[in-house]
Symmetry: C2
């Protein structure tokens, strides 16, 4: 089962908007066992739309189109689609009702241009978009499936999750597919591949697929297996789970989670399980660590807050770092980062704390402490762990890596690893 | 002058990596007056590469290819390119020297596979990549220009900035193009368009181009003009500048910056100009405000830190918020957010402070204070401004909007707007 994603929008071509929709859809389709063979990003223009549809249809069974359905642009994209499918646009009552509801809630008057939002292709099944005025459309033609979705990310995602995914599962001849994702941290892709060499060889010989998915600080392993209607499904699952279990024995300390886990959700889980609270003290991460922790819904249950101490006097006066240690060892030192962790734990009265102090760059590096040098500490009631890292020369990457490794140090402290 | 970007990499198709390279290149090319007509994201595979090049060549004069040049993948992409251009791969001495230097610096042994990194198309001009082992290549064929760049974002960007841009300017028949970008904040796209109606009509009648580029909280206006070799260049510039000046009179308070400014760099500038310092107290923004402020290199000169007070006791004990006000009005209230701003200003001994308190969602909303309700305050030595906002139902969007509007309130406070 092959798929092509067509992203429509000039804002994508001029780089005003980063195409996050295509990546999100790529993940979802891959997880369904559908291979995304190409992504076309094109202009909201007749010829471009027709050419992309024509090309996509040659290789793919499923074509997902996002964007171009908004109130200012619907003329072109919907008309171009209608022409391509040799059909017409008709007003859909249910979609109009949805548009009316949204305008009533916002207390905005309904204009003619807004009514046009409820027009859909006559040959389509309408996918009502609860979060916006542009409905999605599902079109079948010559055993090919076309799905047009709005371009606003949260509308597109909601529509896919609530309506499209199930329809795909019901209508399309998907292969049976079972996969697990194993999240590792603190080990690079090549070092990991070396450790897993013989395991990976056996896995591949058993017909399983393995992908290494690296991102800053983290490498995910995706193990999957595909079968058809004749396959013994529970047998296939068992094979995958056997390799997952083996992995737990080969690299137990590097695995922090599975499937939809993230390091921030994982430390949240661990803290809640221990009925414990957390505070952070950040220098070089400048609030990014707090931002990541609080991006988890419900984090207010265990996270009390952070003190970002960009200035040295905040380190001494608010966090209680010894001014002599600061002078003698510098802000980027084991002594200071450990005192920051203990200081914020006392100040915010929590069970655990994480602290970071480093040189994010681009300036501020010295021969002894070059850009990318970061000290990180994690503290509990009776213990402080600290470690020096040497990340990169890129400011934003250093901030991200220090945030992630700070959470990892807390995980290790809580689990006594 | 038309361009197509070809992004190569399975990680882009499965959504493991978001295609930020294409957006970045789209911006750069647009700024050079080159129209990006399409972005193809394809697999690292012979047929896909050949087909994409063939299609791109039909419409574009300039084809930029990123990715697929890494050590584990170079076999396919470089070979596919060599075949397409009917040429061969040859070892380039300068590129090899660069590979050797990088391995020596990292103290890693040089393997055969790494030497292959220095192979380039025989028909190409080599673009040495100082930050990585994969060189870029510049190929000219039948008045078409092909540029192959590595996929690692900081390597690609560095190579484009240091070598590719100048070469494009020297070799390609670019139109003369002059543009200014005006950054507005605190006014939506449609309200802005309404205010600018007659100005925009005159501007378009004068042959200028205008684009509205919206992002959360901010709308950029891009005014541009194009000419050819016969044009009177300084006259064209003057026309654009005249419209920019007029804009300053029509919407003076909504404009916060020009061209490469950001709201975070702008408040940094204002603070430095006033030799003033800043602290923040964040509840619902959870560190994102601090993260944005500290993403500016050199922000340690004026930014002292943040206290993220996710817990109420941090608000009272650390920031000195009155416990009775907290009980009576709740954490998301004018009383509390103003006390948070004053409290952190005193605690960190700064001249200015910003504070946020709101309900980011998805939970925690009530009928009176639904998700998206955010109080923001900005404080100076003798003044506190505060305002209630009602953003959206999306947690991450609320965090982003509250961070941006917090900085905007500080800007207004400093400038007395």
């Amino acid at each position: 089962m092959k798929s092509v994603i067509i992203s429509i929008g000039d804002e994508l071509l001029i780089g005003q908007t980063i195409n996050t929709n295509a990546a999100w859809l790529g993940q979802r389709l891959t997880n369904l066992g559908i291979k995304v063979v190409e992504i076309y990003t094109i202009s909201d223009d007749y010829d471009a739309i027709h050419h992309a549809l024509f090309e996509a249809e040659k290789t793919a069974d499923l074509i997902i189109i996002t964007g171009g359905l908004g109130p200012t642009k619907d003329d072109i994209t919907k008309k171009a689609l209608a022409e391509y499918f040799e059909t017409e646009l008709v007003l859909n009552e249910e979609a109009l009702e949805n548009v009316r509801r949204i305008f009533a809630e916002k207390k905005h008057p309904l204009l003619d241009v807004n009514v046009k939002q409820a027009e859909v292709l006559a040959n389509s099944e309408v996918l009502i978009n609860e979060l916006g005025t542009a409905p999605g459309m599902w079109i079948e033609k010559d055993n090919k499936y076309f799905i047009a979705l709005p371009g606003v990310p949260h509308e597109m995602k909601n529509l896919f999750d609530k309506k499209v995914e199930l329809k795909i599962k019901n209508r399309l001849p998907l292969p049976f597919r079972y996969q697990r994702i194993i999240h590792t941290i603190g080990i690079g892709e090549s070092a990991l591949a070396e450790k897993l060499y013989s395991w990976e060889t056996r896995l591949r010989n058993d017909g399983l697929l393995l992908a290494y998915l690296p991102s800053p600080g983290i490498v995910k392993l995706r193990i999957s297996i595909e079968g058809d209607s004749d396959s013994n499904i529970s047998e296939l699952k068992d094979i995958v789970e056997k390799y997952v279990s083996e992995l737990q024995e080969i690299i137990p300390n590097y695995i922090f989670g599975y499937d939809n886990d993230t390091i921030e959700s994982k430390i949240g889980e661990l803290l809640q399980k221990n009925q414990a609270t957390l505070a952070t003290a950040e220098s070089c991460t400048g609030g990014n660590l707090a931002h990541k922790i609080t991006s988890v819904a419900g984090s207010s249950k265990y996270y009390k807050g952070t003190v970002v101490s960009y200035a040295n006097e905040v380190k001494t006066q608010v966090l209680g770092v010894d001014i002599n240690d600061l002078k003698e060892h510098g802000a980027v030192s084991q002594q200071v980062v450990e005192q920051m962790a203990k200081g914020v734990k006392n100040l915010l009265k929590t069970d655990f704390a994480i602290a970071t102090s480093g040189i994010a760059g681009p300036d501020g590096g010295t021969a002894e402490k070059p850009v990318g040098t970061v000290w990180i500490a994690a503290a509990s009631k009776d213990k402080v762990m600290s470690k020096k890292f040497r990340f990169s020369t890129d400011r934003m990457l250093n901030i991200e890596l220090a945030s992630i490794m700070g959470m990892e140090m807390l995980r290790r402290l809580i689990l006594n690893l």
